[in-house]
Symmetry: C2
Subunit: 351 residues, 2 copies
């Protein structure tokens, strides 16, 4: 497979490589006649300059990195699996290609090196990172080295870094859910947390607490547990929590996301607790399945597309030298009550 080079185009068009380059890059100092002559040959030959040559002479790669930190097999978490395509789409709309890589974690040096390598080899102009914990040192190192990164779900108020951008979830998600459950009459509410080193989980947890405190609701240890992001850990967390307090059950339980809420459904079914008759269940995300489960899951809808378009656009703005690009943005979600939440039984009996 012999590739055509700018030399071939130059020869065919009867000009020098310099001129070919000027035409390709749309420089102004080329007379129309020359431009047309060169451009015709370029089109005829389907010529596109080798990116390696371009890059070596100082141009960018027009490529956005996308690093997924975590399990690649996310069939259970439908919500996450869309993120990939949304980032590619957002980048494509600005004429960037997306170079994607998956690493299981960042704590092992070899995986962190994976990311260092992609930046260092000059394959990408900037990177999007999904799944990094808020304490990940690489998120300091990369921007310090001069690389522009955009991190999903990451917030560091104290030390801003001009080259580190992020996008975040509503910080009062938990409070909004508690407010709603409170308005239904719930006073005994349980929380199933995610991984608190992730900003959103911490925010949600704190915001649940804020809501509970505001309404003077009891914060009981046995009504708090780890549930994670997937069905299995949430199922186990809910089983353990609920079976330990069968004599004094909460009337509602809030999971860290919809997939975890489905784990709660499973635990409830197994313990003979009906949703929402015996216990109300809330998720977060509004993943496609949320409206299809029985009963339809009450949740807090997240606009993933909006989140990643905001992040990608701000990263590319920064890369292209735009000034005053906001470093982070909190994308507001929407409370979306469905059949899985109802007034607690005692209330309904009374009213």
């Amino acid at each position: 497979m012999k590739r055509i080079s700018s030399n071939d185009i130059a020869r065919l068009a009867g000009v020098s490589r310099s001129t070919v380059s000027r035409v390709i890059n749309g420089y102004s100092n080329v007379p129309e006649e020359t431009y047309d002559r060169v451009m015709r040959v370029v089109r005829e030959q389907h010529y596109y300059p080798q990116i390696s040559g371009r890059q070596l002479s100082g141009k960018g790669s027009n490529t956005l990195g996308l690093f997924w930190v975590g399990e690649p097999n996310i069939s259970q978490a439908q919500f996450s699996s869309n993120m990939f395509m949304i980032v590619v789409d957002a980048a494509a709309q600005r004429n960037y290609l997306t170079l994607a890589d998956i690493v299981p974690n960042l704590s092992e040096e070899k995986y962190a090196n994976h990311i260092r390598r992609v930046f260092s080899e000059g394959r990408i102009d900037a990177g999007i990172i999904i799944g990094a914990s808020n304490e990940e040192p690489l998120m300091d190192e990369l921007p310090e080295k001069g690389y522009i990164i955009g991190i999903h779900d990451y917030f560091r108020e104290e030390d801003a870094q001009p080259l580190r951008l992020s996008v975040n979830y509503d910080r009062d998600t938990g409070e909004q859910i508690i407010d709603y459950l409170y308005s239904l009459g719930h006073r005994k509410i349980a929380i199933l947390n995610g991984d608190l080193t992730h900003q959103s989980c911490l925010d949600r947890y704190q915001s649940f607490i804020r809501g509970m405190t505001k309404h003077n609701l009891p914060l009981r240890n046995q009504w708090m547990a780890y549930g994670g992001y997937h069905m299995d850990p949430a199922y186990r967390g809910a089983m353990q929590m609920l079976s330990a307090c069968m004599s004094d059950l909460p009337t509602a339980i809030c999971a860290n996301n919809d997939t975890a809420a489905r784990g709660v459904y499973k635990a409830c079914a197994e313990l003979g607790l009906r949703v929402p008759d015996d216990i109300s269940v809330f998720g977060i995300d509004d993943e496609p399945a949320a409206s299809m489960v029985i009963p339809p899951l009450s949740t807090f809808a997240i606009d993933t597309r909006k989140m990643f378009f905001s992040l990608v656009n701000r990263v590319l703005d920064t890369l292209e030298g735009k000034e005053n690009v906001p470093q982070t943005e909190f994308i507001r979600g929407t409370l979306l009550p469905r059949g899985s939440s109802a007034p607690p039984r005692s209330d309904r009996a009374n009213g």
Copy 2:
């Protein structure tokens, strides 16, 4: 951001760039002592050679292209959205990065050029293509130009092309579904097709016909319609078909995939037809929601992961010069009856 070059490493290690290159590339003719000295500096400096330099001197990019042809907003079709991540994962397992791009279609020259450009610029060593129709001329042009491509759901028996690989679905999917429905007692079966220029849809359609013919079942025009891949077109297709033959309804309806089957659910609900009491419904794919809808959807489970691992591995094998790599593979699926299919009412009344 000043990057370190092989020159810097050479200087720090007291050798020439040639030797640095030999060490980096693991050539055998380097004494251990030299190797260690250079490698220590490489590690200390977190040095990774610029790919543009490497590529220009004739090395590959270690990158696999991934081209998605179609709607980027696939929130409705959960099944497809996993494909992206699976390809990235499969490539990562073989130490390739994945360069992804989305184009709405291939019939417009500008989008076809998008793909030509990515290959031509030397960004990728080979490419995976999802969503190309079986008649797409670009699928001939690319391998003829010397590019290795792996196409999802593409089959051309007549003219094989050594550089064109593909992965395909079961060719008797439809027949297996018909066999099962027949065994339940169904004799009046309707089909909702997808886009017949896509190999799988054509295969499914032909295989439905084969099954119907085998069992001497009637092939009626009014029991065949276009339903596509998404809820809306399937809903419309089912509405139109069913409302046109209310006096002589089919007892079962087969959709082209699970998402389309959910459109059929919606149409049935609207027409007052109960699933499966009045009509059985079958999907294909076994997407996550299939087991969650009410009633749980009978379907034909596809192992997407297996499909794409087969495709990616064969493409990379071919790229790496392996001999006798199979050009295509048909990945068998599994019939998965659930609550949405049952014997037709007349049978149950009788039996």
